[in-house]
Subunit: 296 residues, 2 copies
């Protein structure tokens, strides 16, 4: 008899990533699709298709990480800043369709769960995670428990009356407006023309382009303001940075560390570490699978 | 036989407020002294004098709220931004001197504890509190438990690379630099000359002085950015505003509500209430007494 598997789905603003994952967080199969964002129905059909393709006899549950606030009482996805999703019972819909237990969690909370259980946070019992992707997601573990508040760390204000936030968010100066992959792409286009994006920005910086280095440095410094705030709130042992744009690595994390040390109080700032996630872009789907096993 | 009492001491940057408090949070006697801030020894002597004056046969414990990070392991006051205090075992010192159990807690955490048990937060199990005084303190109750992280909400960044923070804090653009009583006094002096302070600023605004109203409105708007961030982090049912400068009331809270609603996400922003503390400036000493009863 083989080990039970879960289908973990990371429903991102750009991509749907899904995989078969065992209880130890090992991925045996992994696939990706572009996220259909035309309508909510197209989005949900894309999600069902992803699950469908990975179904098999060993699958005992399905978990979905969603870029949305999840209502703690009803389990419904309340709404998303970055994808067309308003008040949907994803768990109910999928469990009816596939006859399996389904768990739904905020995508960044899922990633935090995965990094804590199987990744960079394996040895700590307090950590903060930020996922830098289409948006900026957040999660926190406090004294060995996943924070059940919003933990929407992408929507902390780092610039009062600052740049407008993304999508449906009415906020100004949110961390997401400066430190998401989307914000990096916008900055890259302003500097290098309409074909540029966050990936090219990072590549140019690695090749020594001073303007690209400076842009990433400014993004990293603002990330450091956000991290400093979170250190002063939670006093975490570890701050884990994940999501696709975390590939910029020390080009953003070194300036972030520098500003964090200016903003954060003693003794927290001396003991906290800022590190990249160990699971890379798989954190979301691994975490979603962990949520699935909890629902099973 | 009379009810057991605790001495609760709120060691503030400007005043030491102390009182005799019973388990229900009722204050039977209350006194205030100016805080001696010349040296650490003078400060601790002032603290001991306050306890000494309130001692009596019914007193079973002493509690102190300190504007300092408290080391969770050793119970020591790590250091304060606003008063001369560096790595001191206040509990050990006082219990040796007075032969009573002594509890020490961060001052804003104490105030949060008091407002939650006996004040504005009596009926909720998640709340955020901000105390606007010499500095800006913070505390949070999450799912019926006091947050044991730093909860230093005065030191969240609301303006990246903004105004220098107070005292020994190296940060820039912290909420405390804009929304503390100290910051309000500085703004009042810039507008109305060296004799003005936060109290006069509030009085002028109540008398209809447009400049004073505008200054308080700007302070309130920045407070709203900070509160919006905290709502997006914790999704609290209630945000309680205490401390001496909370006397500015709707002159700062109305603009704060307005900006909070811009910054915070659905559905949190629709259900959260921003209210003044019910215990006024007594929250700190009542909370310190609650901490004392827990130590007894």
């Amino acid at each position: 008899m083989t080990d039970p598997l879960a289908i973990g789905v990371d429903l991102g603003g750009t991509k749907i990533a899904a995989g078969l994952v065992d209880r130890e967080g090992t991925i045996s199969e992994r696939r990706e699709w572009l996220t259909p964002t035309s309508t909510e129905e197209a989005l949900l059909a894309g999600l069902e298709e992803a699950v469908e393709e990975l179904l098999g006899a060993d699958v005992v549950a399905v978990g979905v990480g969603v870029p949305s606030v999840i209502d703690r009482v009803t389990g419904r996805a309340v709404g998303s800043v970055n994808i067309p999703l308003t008040d949907v019972d994803i768990a109910g819909r999928l469990s009816e369709r596939f006859g399996l237990p389904v768990g739904v969690e905020n995508d960044a909370n899922s990633a935090t769960f995965a990094e804590w259980r199987h990744g960079a946070g394996r040895d700590v019992d307090s950590m903060v995670m930020l996922t830098l992707g289409t948006g900026v997601g957040g999660g926190a573990v406090i004294e060995g428990r996943l924070l059940r508040g919003l933990a929407e760390f992408g929507h902390i204000v780092i610039e009062h009356d600052g740049a407008p936030c993304q999508g449906t968010c009415t906020g100004r100066g949110h961390l997401e407006a400066y430190a998401s992959g989307t914000a990096a792409t916008a900055a890259a286009r302003r500097a290098f023309g309409p074909a540029a994006d966050a990936h090219r920005l990072v590549r140019l910086a690695r090749e020594g382009d001073e303007q690209a280095v400076a842009i990433l440095r400014e993004i990293g410094r603002r990330l450091g303001s956000g991290i400093g705030s979170l250190v002063n709130v939670f006093d975490p042992e570890l701050v884990v940075i994940g999501g696709g744009f975390s590939a910029a690595d020390d080009l953003i994390l070194d300036p972030a560390r520098e500003v964090m040390r200016r903003e954060a109080l003693e003794p927290a700032k001396d003991r906290v570490q800022i590190v990249r996630g160990a699971l890379g872009t798989a954190a979301g789907l691994v975490g979603a699978a962990m949520v699935a096993f909890e629902a099973a």
